[in-house]
């Protein structure tokens, strides 16, 4: 069940649009921000709020890669850019370093559920390569030292 807070926020975005369905993306974003991922039940709740079929919500959840649908992630989601500019400046090393540090492979989650590691396409921060996004924040000009500091600060 969606919490009253989440429902309230979703109702708040409805007036931005001409029809209810348009609020689908925002609704799923609100849910994911609160819970880290999106469940089957969330999607049918959104569907009834917006008056659409659950499969239409599912479709949106599946298409956009930032939604973690039925896929719990760690408390912090590390996303390293491995597109061209970042790779030219060592993104591959950064990925390998974090894999060794956290003892997980890309795509995996640490046993204590603290971190999930993913690689992503260009995040629009190419002049400060290599870079990564952790949760909603960008961390740029990465070095091994910086990564140690950053990850230590995320409990």
């Amino acid at each position: 069940m969606l919490s009253e807070k989440v429902r309230g926020e979703i109702r708040g975005v409805l007036r931005n649009y001409k029809n209810l369905r348009s609020a689908c993306m925002a609704a799923l974003q609100i849910i994911q921000r609160e819970a880290g991922h999106i469940t089957e039940a969330d999607m049918s709740d959104v569907a009834s709020l917006l008056g659409v079929n659950p499969v239409q919500v599912e479709e949106v959840g599946a298409f956009y890669t930032m939604y973690n649908v039925r896929k719990p992630v760690g408390r912090h989601h590390i996303q390293v850019c491995t597109n061209l500019s970042c790779s030219l400046l060592g993104a591959g090393h950064i990925v390998n370093f974090i894999e060794r540090l956290l003892k997980i492979k890309t795509g995996g989650t640490t046993q204590d559920k603290r971190f999930t590691l993913s690689t992503v396409e260009c995040l629009g921060s190419c002049a400060t390569a290599p870079m990564m996004q952790v949760d909603e924040d960008y961390y740029e000009n990465l070095t091994e030292e910086r990564i140690n500091e950053i990850l230590d600060g995320l409990k």
């Binding site: 939604y67 061209l84 992503v120 260009c122 629009g124």
Partner: protein, 428 residues
């Protein structure tokens, strides 16, 4: 050159409404409300402004296609900025969100829209926050909402966040996405000017395009068209990344030679090494080599030599770069971002990536280079939207200049550039 788009780049607090107004901000809206719709559209036409989202379509002309008698109309600002190597719209949004809002208010007034959306890519969470704050400030000062500045014009601006789909930068996929669907392109025609958001007349413009508008209103079209290239005037944001000493965002007159951007502004190649290739306009734009560096960075000059200005994302690669790996990374991006609507792109880009991957990993088979060329030929011109063609253009650009290197990889199972093919993740 006086900075127009990046004047607040090094101005802490420059993103607030008070600072924006102190710097002369929102005077252009007042001016525009006096001028009237047709006059503004004529000014934008006369300025010669061409869309900065990639295609370079004349902005005033686009606005003039909006039918007068159909209601409501919409303006959508394209802030999806996903083209690898590009970070210019993010710069404007984070450092000068009111510049964009002012441009959007004027554009909405000119075309008669009373609702406007900013479609911002989901990863730009900070940018979205900046926009929400700026919009809130603007409502409080009566610059947005009902009867702005006491006029009879009302305008609302909303932020719609994408959530990880490069294809939503394509204007009709963007509209699908706002409507709550998967972001897959629509058939054109009908063009958005006639049948756009919710089936109503819609203008879609890039962030940088809209941010040029206030200064055109204030200083006049002649002032604008006196800057830059004759056929693509005005200021331009260039994003420089890769193997340069001073990567960053540079505002320069449109048509600044690529060599000047790389060597003067971005400080030349890192570590004193030599340049191998430069991508001039985001990874879709075919790469150029040293002897092509004097090209003026504008739409027509780059098209003439078989590349494109695209998003203005300049990616510099030095002589240690393995072109097979670069091509593989670029192509992997396209196959990841293919929306799946049409077969040549959906299947073709995946196939290309597989072949490039095995060549890169030293598992290439004889005939693989020809195979790649064959797949390119089967995709090109047969896709529903330009993404599939873009993947082909990028790979052809690499093959045109570095075919030998691909062949060497296949034959010798290793890289000519570095003496070892290495796995992904071991670039050097």
């Amino acid at each position: 050159m006086e900075k127009i788009l990046l004047k607040n780049l090094n101005n802490p607090g420059g993103h607030t409404l008070d600072n924006y107004i102190a710097g002369g901000g929102y005077r252009a809206v007042k001016e525009a409300l006096k001028l009237g719709h047709d006059h503004i559209i004529q000014m934008v036409k006369d300025s010669g402004l061409r869309g900065r989202g990639g295609a370079g379509f004349p902005t005033g002309l686009k606005w003039s296609f909006i039918p007068k008698e159909v209601y409501p109309k919409y303006l959508c600002c394209n802030a999806d900025e996903g083209e690898p190597g590009t970070f210019k719209d993010r710069g404007i949004i984070e450092y000068d969100p009111h510049l964009l809002l002012e441009g959007m208010i004027i554009a909405s007034y000119a075309i008669g829209a009373i609702s406007a959306y900013i479609y911002i890519r989901g990863e730009f969470a900070f940018g979205a926050k900046r926009l929400w704050e700026a919009i809130k400030e603007a409502y409080e000062k009566g610059l947005l909402g009902k009867n702005i500045l006491g006029s009879d014009f009302s305008i609302d601006i909303y932020v719609h966040r994408g959530f990880g789909a490069y294809i939503c930068g394509e204007e009709t996929a963007l509209l699908e996405s706002i409507e709550g669907f998967r972001g897959q392109p629509r058939k054109k025609p009908p063009f958005p000017a006639v049948w756009g958001l919710y089936g109503k007349p819609t203008v879609i413009n890039n962030v940088e395009t809209l941010s040029c508008i206030p200064s055109i209103i204030l200083n006049g079209p002649k002032w604008f068209s006196s800057m830059g290239s004759e056929k693509s005037p005005g200021p331009k944001l260039y994003c420089v990344s890769g193997h340069v000493n001073r990567p960053g965002l540079y505002e320069l007159p449109m048509g600044t030679p690529l060599r000047e951007i790389v060597y003067n502004h971005a400080g030349g190649i890192k570590g004193g090494r030599n340049l191998k290739a430069v991508i001039p306009g985001g990874v879709t734009a075919p790469m150029l080599i040293e002897k092509e560096l004097d090209v003026p960075m504008d739409f027509d000059s780059l098209a003439k030599i078989g590349s494109m200005l695209g998003s203005g994302g300049v990616v510099v690669m030095d002589d240690t770069t393995c072109m097979v790996k670069a091509a593989y990374i670029i192509n992997r991006f396209f196959s990841h971002e293919s929306c799946g609507k049409c077969t040549p792109c959906r299947e073709g880009t995946h196939w290309m990536t597989e072949v490039l991957k095995r060549i890169e990993y030293g598992e290439g088979k004889p005939g693989d280079v020809e195979l790649l060329e064959g797949v390119c030929a089967n995709i090109f011109g047969r896709t529903f939207c330009p993404l599939g063609d873009g993947a082909v253009m990028a790979l052809r650009g690499a093959l045109k200049n570095f075919r030998d290197e691909f062949a060497y990889h296949v034959e010798n199972k290793r890289c000519a550039a570095r003496g070892g093919f290495g796995a992904i993740g071991v670039w050097e």
